[in-house]
Symmetry: C2
Subunit: 338 residues, 2 copies
């Protein structure tokens, strides 16, 4: 029975964030901080290119970094992993000659890997396993892997003797600190992969989609490489707003400049915006947020037809990051609505 | 070129022990202690009926108990697991709602399970994985699983509501302390299993085979249930000597009396000897060692045709246990040689 006096129930606005690991986690915290003030639904779609099988366990560095940050369980001093971490199990694995001695698995972190692996081996897909892990923490955010398929990022490098090698991204990043001759990135098996249904729906249905200030090549870039992600962004109901991951030509964190150089992208706020592209030119972006020091770039991009704004982009705390998110949301709604 | 004055190289004598977990480990230490005095090769063939997959990891309680005991890495106060153990990972698994909260996996112990699981998933059989794990510790003993096949011991029990249930042995043993109505033991998949080639060879080729004072039903008994083990014992080059796991009608450790009751075996030194049987009656034993308090049983069994001896059987330390092993070896060589 329809009531003749029914009033429409106001729906909560939704924000979907595409994010990498540690920086993505910090940004997601800011978006959640804003969401709690503005009553928004937040979904974070996370890069899985760094994921790997290590000593029989499924390790998902970016999903875990974002989950731990949102759970207030991350080590903010060290900058990665769990707070209060220890490495007793890792020492055992090393004593048995198993695993990568340069890739430390903390005891608390291993709890996550073991639990996830048990779920996957019992038949859960990564989306379901991620939801079950996240349920422990009451994140107030929906956490989604970009894909349920295994699409490891491999890196083509030179060995010390000059011959070519293809190694896992984590070996390049953690063991070699990205400081060896590097020729390119390969997403192994990407041609058989697809965006997860949940991630695609979250991108298409959001009122605003934000690209976190994550690495444009090996975080956001690998997500864009997964079949269906670009299509979902192109079909998104809301505007797509990117947040520059470089400030004054330097990465906010990580090694975005090194990764950009490998693929021939200029590691500046303007260069990365052009790499993503403006929607009206067939690219992804409806709008682009840069730091105040890059105001000149913003003006230049705006003349080229991309809506931009320059605001402070240092994610010093949740308040500062929420201000960034607020500016990004406003800019996106202007870009679509105006 | 054969030398005309060559003298035969004296070959080292070999002892193979069939053993369960904690008690088996203690006995194996004594045999090794003797072996270092007498220059013997020691192989310990270990029960795998308690093995299980838990949160995606392959846990082998008896193999690990024996390995830790031989490695001087066992917790002698608590009586099981690793010395200096902690449970940080287990607490995480519980927080994620994964695993058996009543089955604690210590952090150091988990290192073993993770390493073993990685080896198995990479294609090693359990024999090879066990050798790789043992190599870390320099045990001075060859450690072998009785079989590479998965033959979990299941237990038929009554639920509180009186209906039947079939649970894993570890659930019965650890969670229920064997204190629920129990109808029998089942070796799941045993009809498709077989003794490992290495274990069969170690049994057949040994100068003496010792049955450790382990549980005659769920440790030694499950090993005897694996196709090929009884055949190897029957064809053994050396004598088979059993060491009674009960002293004056009480188990040396564990719950041998409960397990014996389930299968209708009298839990006495004489009852268990008759359960194994004398070789001349189609059984396994060439000889049987009992404690001094069971000297009457020894005399009775001897009258029935089984060579027996009564010596102190409390494994209070390595010296006392080595004395037991020395008596068992001497008795076995008498039984065959004399």
């Amino acid at each position: 029975m329809a009531s003749s006096t029914s009033t429409p129930v106001p729906t909560r606005r939704s924000v979907t964030v595409l994010a990498g690991g540690v920086g993505g986690g910090r940004f997601a915290r800011g978006v959640r901080h804003l969401a709690r003030q503005q009553d928004l639904d937040v979904t974070v779609v996370v890069n899985t290119g760094d994921d790997l099988w290590l000593t029989g366990l499924r390790v998902c560095p970016d999903l875990d970094s974002v989950m731990y940050a949102l759970a207030d369980a991350n080590d903010t001093e060290r900058g990665w992993g769990r707070a209060g971490e220890s490495e007793r199990v890792s020492a055992e694995l090393t004593a048995y000659g198993v695993g990568w001695p340069w890739f430390t698995l903390g005891d608390l972190d291993l709890g996550t890997h073991i639990a996830r692996t048990a779920m996957l081996r019992d038949g859960d897909d990564l989306t379901r396993a991620t939801a079950r892990l996240a349920a422990r923490w009451a994140l107030d955010v929906t956490l989604l892997p970009v894909t349920d398929d295994e699409v490891p990022t491999l890196v083509d490098v030179d060995r010390p003797d000059g011959t070519r090698d293809r190694i896992h991204f984590e070996e390049w990043w953690v063991r070699h600190r990205a400081a060896i001759p590097t020729h390119g990135f390969v997403q192994q098996g990407v041609e058989r992969a697809s965006v997860s249904a949940a991630a695609a729906a979250a991108i298409r249905g959001a009122d605003v989609v934000l690209l976190a200030p994550s690495n444009p090549v090996v975080s956001i870039g690998t997500m864009l490489g997964v079949p269906g992600v670009r299509e979902a962004l192109a079909a998104a109901r809301g505007p797509v707003v990117g947040v520059a991951p470089v400030i004054g030509g330097r990465p906010v964190r990580g090694m975005a400049d090194v990764c950009c150089a490998v693929v021939g992208v200029e590691a500046t706020a303007a260069g990365i915006a052009r790499h993503y592209g403006a929607r009206r030119d067939g690219g992804l972006l409806d709008a682009w947020l840069v730091d105040e020091v890059d105001a000149d770039s913003a003006a230049e991009l705006q003349r080229d037809g991309l809506r931009t704004r320059a605001v402070p982009l240092w994610m010093t705390d949740d308040d500062a990051t929420a201000d960034m998110a607020r500016a990004a949301l406003a800019l996106g709604l202007e870009a679509r609505g105006a």
